[in-house]
Symmetry: C2
DNA sequence: GTCTATAATTTGATAGAC
DNA sequence: GTCTATCAAATTATAGAC
């Protein structure tokens, strides 16, 4: 169980998906990058590329949810808005530190398959849905009224995704930082103790 | 000048990019869809696929900017927030009406090439930059203070892009509608006449 | 079970007939 | 200039030796 072969495959696939997307990633390259013989890909993933992509997206989705949860836990418990800013700033830092590759591990593939592969589209939809549920719970735990949670979690996730898009294209962290401020303001406005 | 061949090529390429992305679109398919012989692709675009993609992205970028400007012009001139909601609602309608294909014509390709093709990445960055400038001007003309325009235009565009991502993945217009409300609220808060 | 070789197709790109 | 045929290399997938 030392070096789990299927896991090595998924890990290499996840890295390649982030840089080259789904159609841009070849199974030969996955074999080469992971050091796993080509035939083993079909031994462990009889469903071929689509099955491997499904597993990779789910694994990446869980990993990213964990990372975001950890960053949100770092922030001050009594200041949701400050924590939102912190999360966007950390996302921007990670992006710059990794030469603009370490963004959302789902988005590129999600857009690629949205109109061309219904199986994988559903997988990305499930992952985004779980992320939104997690953000809902975090917002409600922080004092946001339940009936406003989904709108704000949607804003949080969409702004993060849009920020990744704009920051990666421009190779500039500024969009992500600005979006952190904007989302934080909107979250603050939803808190019942907020002055009006 | 009746049926401009290079234009037919670009148009077919734009449609294929929206459904299958950059790496997912083959030149053979472009030739077939446009009805233009394969060799003509290299006659009109000697730079090959990258040159054709550059031209297609620029053409799609101008077209989408025009469409958004038209939608923004439809809204009430004295109510920026209502116009923002209207724009997101229209984007959602168009998305549903086209079976979730008619979203941003740049985003999919932008994410695909962000870490793999610097030439095309720069093209997408230029397009997003021009869009943001246009939104800045529209916001300022509507009464938003100049020093807040870029943050709000970034929120507008990022939320739209993130909304397209979430709505396409889930095949549900709800995220785009919710985001229209959120962005509208943030725009309203930036107007000097807004009550505080 | 591990791995190599190869099949069948498609890719981007060129050569060259007309 | 228009178009066909083809190239070399890539793709996903499979067969089968070890």
């Amino acid at each position: 169980m030392a070096s789990d072969t299927p896991h090595r495959i998924v890990e290499a696939t996840a890295n390649l998906f982030q840089r080259n997307g789904y159609t841009g990633t070849g199974l030969k390259q996955i074999s080469a990058d992971s050091g796993v013989p080509f035939g083993s890909l079909y031994h462990f993933f009889p469903g071929g590329k689509e099955a491997l992509a499904t597993e990779t997206l789910r694994w990446s989705g869980r990993g990213y949810a964990t990372r975001v949860a950890a960053v949100l836990a770092e922030g001050p418990r009594d200041d949701l808005a400050a924590t939102v800013r912190h999360a966007f700033d950390r996302a921007a830092e990670d992006l710059v530190a990794t030469d603009y590759v370490d963004a959302c591990p789902i988005a590129t593939v999600a857009l690629e398959v949205a109109s061309s592969n219904d199986t994988l589209r559903e997988v990305t939809a499930e992952i985004f849905g779980e992320w939104l549920q997690g953000l809902d719970a975090w917002l409600v735990a922080g004092g946001v009224p339940e009936d406003q949670a989904r709108a704000l979690s949607t804003l949080f996730l969409a702004a993060l995704e849009g920020g990744f898009l704009l920051s990666r294209a421009a190779r500039d962290p500024a969009p992500l930082h600005a979006l952190g401020e904007q989302v934080a303001a909107q979250v603050a406005a939803a808190l019942p103790t907020e002055p009006r």
